[in-house]
């Protein structure tokens, strides 16, 4: 029995915000369109013909900019390359960061979880905010509310 094997690419789109630019929320359809353009430009019609039937944006979160793309196994390097060459979506500049490539969606999800945890940990360690940020914020806001009541 012939099995159809896929590759699941976990990408994080890091935005490069310009000072006078509004952050527009992205859509999975927009990412698909941008990917398609990138493949046609960089790999030509032959490249799109190889990848196009199996390309699918399975998940995208506008909050965290994490995207999971599914491609067939044979031409997955074409799609991977296209993702790397992608520099802007809908006019806004992004840096694509391919975090993980796997054969099942489950491992892509696990990799996403791992990546998120690392990012948060790195952020917290660098910002020296530590675990006090919430408590400080809460204390500040309760003080403001109490002063209002009086």
């Amino acid at each position: 029995m012939v099995r159809f094997k896929n590759r699941w690419i976990l990408v994080e789109f890091l935005p490069l915000p310009f000072p006078n630019q509004q952050s527009t929320t992205l859509n999975s359809k927009q990412i698909y369109a941008a990917l398609k353009q990138s493949i046609i430009v960089n790999f030509g019609d032959a490249g799109w013909g190889a990848v196009g039937s199996s390309l699918n944006v399975k998940y995208f979160s506008p909050a965290t900019n994490i995207c999971i793309v599914r491609v067939a196994r044979d031409p997955h390097r074409i799609a991977w390359g296209a993702v790397t060459y992608l520099s802007s979506i809908e006019g806004q500049k992004y840096i694509p960061n391919v975090v993980h490539v796997s054969g099942t969606i489950k491992h892509a999800q696990l990799a996403a979880i791992k990546h998120n945890r690392e990012v948060v940990a790195r952020y917290r360690a660098r910002s020296n905010v530590g675990s006090n940020s919430y408590e400080e914020y809460l204390a500040k806001s309760t003080a403001e509310i109490e002063s209002l009541q009086d």
């Binding site: 159809f4 935005p15 915000p17 952050s23 929320t25 999975s28 039937s53 199996s54 390309l55 699918n56 944006v57 399975k58 998940y59 995208f60 979160s61 506008p62 909050a63 965290t64 994490i66 999971i68 599914r70 067939a72 969606i105 489950k106 999800q109 696990l110 996403a112 979880i113 998120n116 945890r117 990012v119 948060v120 952020y123 910002s127 905010v129 940020s133 919430y134 914020y137």
Partner: protein, 765 residues
Amino acid sequence: MPAKRKIQDSEGTGGSEPNGRKKGRIQEARQIVTQVHTHAADGSSSKLPVSLDVERFTDARTFEITAMQDAIGNARAGSSKRSWQKLPRRLRRRAASHDVRRVPVYLRDKAKTEMDPLHKNAPPKSKSKTLGKKKTVPRTEKLSKRQRDKLWLETHIWHAKRMKMQTLWGYRLALHPTEKAFRSSHRASKHGCILHDASYHEIIEVRGPQALLVSLVDLCCESSTSPGSIRYLTGARACEALLYTPNSYPHDLVGPVTILWRPTTPLEPIDLGHSQRTVWFICHPSISESAFRGLIISSSFVVEASKSDNKRKHKVEVVDLRGKYNFFELMGPKSSQVIRGALAPIFDDERKEFDRFWDRLQHLQCPGGLPSGMIIGLKVHDPRLSFPPANTSVKVPKVLPPQQSVDPSPRLACSELWETSCAPQAKPRFCKKDLDERRAKNLIPGGKLNPLHEDDQVPLLLIRYSMSSQSGLQPMHGWKMVIPSGWAMPFLTSLTYTGTLVGGQQQRDTQMLEAGVPRFPHDFPTTEPYREHTEAWEASERCLWERTPPAKRVNYERLGIDNPWKADWGKVLSRCTTTVAGYAPTQRDVTHPWLLNKYLASAVLDGTAGASDPAAWLYAKLAGIRLAHGDTGLSLETSANDLWRDALVQVQVELHGRGTLGDLAAIYLLRSDELRTCGSSLERIRESVELEHSLQDVMIGYITSGAYSLSRGRPSGIGTVALSQMVGVKKQMLAISNPGYMVKVRNRNSNSCYLARIQLVHHLN
């Protein structure tokens, strides 16, 4: 609210599925939930991008992590498991595959997605003619049509949904659960709790002056101590006895009964012979008619006997209380905790013994801690008010409280249940709908209902019940609950809620087999129900055998068995030799077999084994017993030799080594050469000794019920042997100085015999 992503169907994706349903299911399960920006619409909040706002950043990441984890879990379950596979087997329903309502509420959404989409191209079904309200047959009428030739118990529908049913003794009874239940019910009876609805047992009430009742009970019943003795007379204990037809002891055994005396109030002293008393005889449905007739005959006999003494006219009433009471048998160590958790008793200031008993029930690790036969009368609130119940846990106190012993006493056994025998059957006042409406009005949802003045107070009796015999080392202890009619379903739902298993006839039979107790009627060969049962069984087995082609069935002719489906007691009994000089052993055609009951068995065996003339010894003993019962002496027609020769006794059998105990396996005496090989080193025999059957073998009895015993780890069962042959076995064993009794057992389908150990089923005081 987080929005779900729409599934994007990619064009011509690989992996063709046979039906779109599974693909849809998998895709549904594989959805990953995403967080939607709520602040995107209004620009008033901070203009910083998401990644620089600390809380929102961590919030978004946390959300994504949880969403991914959920997706992983759901994906695994969504493609491989259906929604109803998350339910335990007992809650699954066949209709769940096409009807969403058959699945609990929390699973309905999932079930809906898994269901087959309606066939659009199927031809439309013709609308069936639904009867109008005038023409519809009401449900009670529909159900009562099925009960014309048999009686349904109150819990019938509950049992019919879960058990395989059969018509036995005029009732529709549960045989066994439809699920696999052999080992789980055995475990429940040994370590947990198992319930059996025994409401098919019938009560016969006898009312009259105490002296007459005592003589009546002595006349027709036999027990370890006289059922009219002070031990049972106060009503504190239940007496397990055997009922005989009057004037024909020891022949014509009717069957086992349980005798309950109505407890005396403290004001009435026991000694007064003329005080009006009530006795209940609880008997098996197969003997209820003959028991009723026998009691009427005995009562007339007793009244006649008393007329000659004094001039006052005495009256003894015999009433059939069929259908007025329900019985539940709860067996197992946890049954005390189940009872304590499910029942909410009404405490009385005057009955301090009951408070102590109720407290003791909580610390009882096994019902065997209380004396067998002890009766407790109580009154409880409607069990549906405090539904759902919770089992109490056994609390063994670190410091044992001062000995506040709970003894059987007539005050503890007092109950209003006795008064309901005259009253018409009272149904529960409130139906489930009324109680549910009341529960809906509760301020706190899920709370229990407080008992109101209008609520029912149900009187009931608890009897400490045991299946035990001297020979079986694995007694089963439990409780028997007697509740008025109409209340079986509320109590059943409360008792089974906490995980108590419910068993049918097969479970009860297994319990008796494990305990080594003969079951009625299968193990009582001389009784009428045994004859009916074996005739029916013979007919069905013979029919089955005749249908089978000769190459595939057992060749009984070759094995030398005349009638493989019926026990030939005549053959068993005519083999014994008489010991009276001058009488040659003859094969008589007419035998009148009688069963020596377990209360006499060991004494009679010892006596006849030691006596030089066992027939005479037995005759004297039986005559003495008859006179003690208040009966006439043995008639001159019955000769001592006949009595001695026709005596049968029940034994408990255990195979020594390998082998199985099948139905109607024959029991043989060990031959002298076999004795030499086996007898010398019985303890050292590990493997089975190969024994063969020969025509000279003396058959001494049959196995009436045999199976593999889980608690013993070897096949065991109950059989019946001739008393005279039992004496022979005893003498054999004494000769080789072996303490036990060894015989050999041969199944119907082979010539090889297995070594077995037998023990009398006897009851010591």
